[in-house]
């Protein structure tokens, strides 16, 4: 079992379609991504968001986390089509 799930997540193991990527230069440490999708993102020691588990949250939550980022520092790619769906 994935470690994340054994550490208390109530979510079932999930294979996401959307892949997220943090553009470090754009991140200002607002941490809204962590507030929305805490099992996917965390803030590192430099106060920059980083991805800890692509399957930590469902796709809708990952997209909302990206949309909530004040500087559009999170890209969302649909792995089935290869299309970048956020930012548009």
């Amino acid at each position: 079992m994935n470690d994340i799930y054994s550490q208390g997540s109530e979510k079932l193991p999930y294979k996401s379609r959307y892949q997220v990527k943090v553009i470090n230069d754009k991140c200002i440490g607002a941490a809204s991504c962590v507030a929305v999708a805490a099992m996917t993102f965390k803030m590192n020691d430099l106060n920059i968001a980083e991805v800890i588990d692509q399957d930590g949250n469902v796709d809708e939550e990952k997209l909302l986390a990206a949309q909530s980022c004040p500087t559009a520092a999170i890209e969302v790619i649909d792995t089935q089509t290869g299309e970048k769906i956020w930012p548009k």
């Binding site: 440490g29 997209l63 909302l64 949309q67 956020w86």
Partner: protein, 220 residues
């Protein structure tokens, strides 16, 4: 959240009052994210009202005229705003340390919430200092509130610092980060544009402030 009021509080700043939804709990210093277009774009705005206040207050610089500005200007009283939150980690710890708030421009917005909460609702006796830097006197807002708090609470000190004053300004002139010697014991909060926040933070650390005691929030 339903819009209950809108008003310009300076040439640049629009204040929007919103109905506080039942069960909406937040900590002073946090922000909310609003959906500003049909594509799903969101913009974040610090909450200016204290958790103890009846309504939610936000205030934003409307000069950029980006998606967020246009959205806020287009909202009418009675209309709903799609809000997500609260979010944000810049909050006051439950300790007895002095609090030093340093803001530039619209960076003062979350500090209104934090200071009103401490003074009015928590009846905090710890020393609270607010230093606010803007270019011109006309950029200042909520001055009645700051003056009222200053006269009512002896543990609160407020100073506005202008970098480009016109004739007649009797207050301090210069850069807001020239706080000299006041950081030794304080828990420090800095909010404003990214470059200025970085500059102030680095200056304070170089003068001996502990990095761990500095919390920052970047506006952009």
């Amino acid at each position: 959240m339903k819009v209950t009021g809108k008003r310009l509080i300076s040439k640049k700043m629009l204040e929007v009052t919103l109905e506080k939804p039942t069960g909406f709990d937040f900590e002073a210093g946090q922000y909310v994210s609003f959906k500003v277009d049909e594509e799903g774009s969101r913009r974040s705005y610090s909450i200016a009202s204290a958790p103890g206040e009846r309504e939610i207050l936000i205030a934003a610089d409307i000069t950029p005229m980006g998606k967020g500005t246009k959205y806020l200007l287009s909202r009418e009283v009675g209309e709903m705003m799609d809000a997500l939150g609260p979010m944000g980690r810049m909050t006051v710890k439950e300790e007895e340390k002095e609090l030093l708030f340093i803001a530039t421009g619209g960076g003062i917005v979350p500090f209104r919430s934090m200071i009103v909460e401490e003074l009015v609702y928590k009846k905090s006796r710890r020393s609270i200092k607010l230093k606010w830097g803007t270019r011109h006197e006309e950029d200042l807002f909520w001055m009645d509130l700051w003056e009222e708090l200053k006269s009512k609470y002896e543990n609160f000190r407020f100073e506005a610092v202008l970098s480009k004053p016109v004739n007649g300004w009797k207050g301090r002139v210069g850069h807001v980060c020239d706080v000299g010697g006041e950081t030794a014991k304080a828990e420090i909060f800095i909010c404003g544009s990214q470059e200025v926040v970085k500059e102030i933070s680095e200056k304070l650390v170089s003068e001996g402030a502990e990095k761990e005691r500095i919390q920052i929030e970047n506006f952009y």
